[in-house]
Symmetry: C2
Subunit: 231 residues, 2 copies
Amino acid sequence: MISRPPRPRERGIPEATVARLPVYLRALQALQERGTATVSSEALAGAAGVNSAKLRKDLSHLGSYGTRGVGYEVEYLVYQISRELGLTQDWSVAIVGIGNLGRALANYGGFGTRGFRIAALLDADPDVVGRTVASLSVRHIDNLEEVVRDKGVSIGVIATPAGSAQGVASRFVEAGVTSVLNFAPVVLNVPDGVDVRKVDLSIELQILAFHAQRRADGDGRDAERAGLEVT
Amino acid sequence: MISRPPRPRERGIPEATVARLPVYLRALQALQERGTATVSSEALAGAAGVNSAKLRKDLSHLGSYGTRGVGYEVEYLVYQISRELGLTQDWSVAIVGIGNLGRALANYGGFGTRGFRIAALLDADPDVVGRTVASLSVRHIDNLEEVVRDKGVSIGVIATPAGSAQGVASRFVEAGVTSVLNFAPVVLNVPDGVDVRKVDLSIELQILAFHAQRRADGDGRDAERAGLEVT
DNA sequence: ACGTGCTTGTGAAAGCACGCACAAAGTGGG
DNA sequence: CCCACTTTGTGCGTGCTTTCACAAGCACGT
Ligand SMILES: NC(=O)c1ccc[n+]([C@@H]2O[C@H](COP(=O)([O-])OP(=O)(O)OC[C@H]3O[C@@H](n4cnc5c(N)ncnc54)[C@H](O)[C@@H]3O)[C@@H](O)[C@H]2O)c1
Ligand SMILES: NC(=O)c1ccc[n+]([C@@H]2O[C@H](COP(=O)([O-])OP(=O)(O)OC[C@H]3O[C@@H](n4cnc5c(N)ncnc54)[C@H](O)[C@@H]3O)[C@@H](O)[C@H]2O)c1
């Protein structure tokens, strides 16, 4: 009865699950490179640093891709997760702010391997504009709209100082970019329908400091509320 | 195996709150620089990009530091949050892996202003060891234990390639470092009591891609399921 | 054909997190 | 001194997340 009409249209994957899928994907790709054909939820959960029940529930949101008594076929699962995450298509990325961080990002080779193509680098500094970074010539920020259009940029990365970030974000939005990754330590204001994620190293350090202090405080006695763990 | 019957349910600020305190702190410091003396939960919440009820509840975990009818005294609140986060003391940070990213981190000035002092840079590459980066001479990774001891390092930052990250993490732990910030795209295995946080740019991009794809899929018709927001 | 053993997929329970809405508490004017 | 107004602190309902625990499903050997 249950024919095999693949049900890829499961709307509504929990946000928490979405955030873990990339982790599973990476673990699966590592297994794949090692030639592993199938993997159990227990083993994959171990590699991803999560509880196995959570892993199974997460995967169940994509469909029933496992085989009871056996586990999951690695290659098939890699494909399914990639498809769900939208990695079967290419995404064009523009980085604005080619300073310390922007250069590091541009030179990082780990993006291209996962469907993300760095299409353009932009900066406001005349000394930086025109220089070649990671085989790309840095364009002036004034060309943002043109670059977005011509290169089909769909993801904008902001690596400018905090003071310039909101302006850059607004221009991205104006140009039609609806996905933004922000490294500047400011809260960006964007209209509905635009997805902004931030990476803030200072905040990470402060969270670590909080836990470290707590550990030091309640020392000796009940220091067990200590570590979160793993990643 | 590790069952923990006794629930350590004592003094506890929710994890979600801890993650937002640094955001409030930054907003408060911006107000402080502008000379603002007091601020309402509504105004501060706006600056931090959160709901005002959430802000008030978060702050209530630290104590009753507001005045009804008036708001919060900026300076006092800055102090209280700083103290809670452990920023009234200095934290010594060591960065391992002085490549693209490690150099950007070392050159970033935004840490020192918040109680974090970059105390040492370490690398394994003979070409990198001995060079001066951000006024620090890069030490060889073999000196990790010595450096941790002599500089009182309490936070370790890992910016090495993925393959080296676990080894570096283990050495950090062995040397007594219980807080680790990991940029390498691997799940680190550490003993209980060690706090690891990860920053993974690829994951952020993949989450953006997921939402972007969803937006593109259900276009035109019900595109309202669209953007989150965050910052 | 059928039992054995292993692993998935998922109800159900428990725990968190969020945000509304409002009483309590403080300010300032009259 | 009292009243009108403002803003905090929080009780409570709602929905999301995590985890447990186990029936159902599949492979394989007999
Ligand atoms: N470097 C790090 O490790 C690090 C760590 C945490 C956060 N950050 C944040 O990342 C951002 C960048 O850091 P950085 O160290 O690379 O800074 P940086 O000063 O080295 O580089 C900033 C670059 O942005 C360019 N720029 C400034 N205004 C611009 C505009 N309006 N349009 C286009 N380009 C503009 C500048 O010309 C410069 O090249 C900052 O917001 C910083 O707070 C950096
Ligand atoms: N550059 C980026 O923007 C970026 C973005 C996302 C993730 N990452 C991750 O950050 C890490 C570093 O990236 P990168 O671009 O700086 O790489 P990189 O190759 O430029 O630098 C890595 C450095 O680590 C050193 N190293 C290697 N093994 C070591 C060891 N065992 N002990 C000490 N040092 C060692 C190398 O000598 C090198 O200097 C990688 O894991 C990468 O995946 C980087």
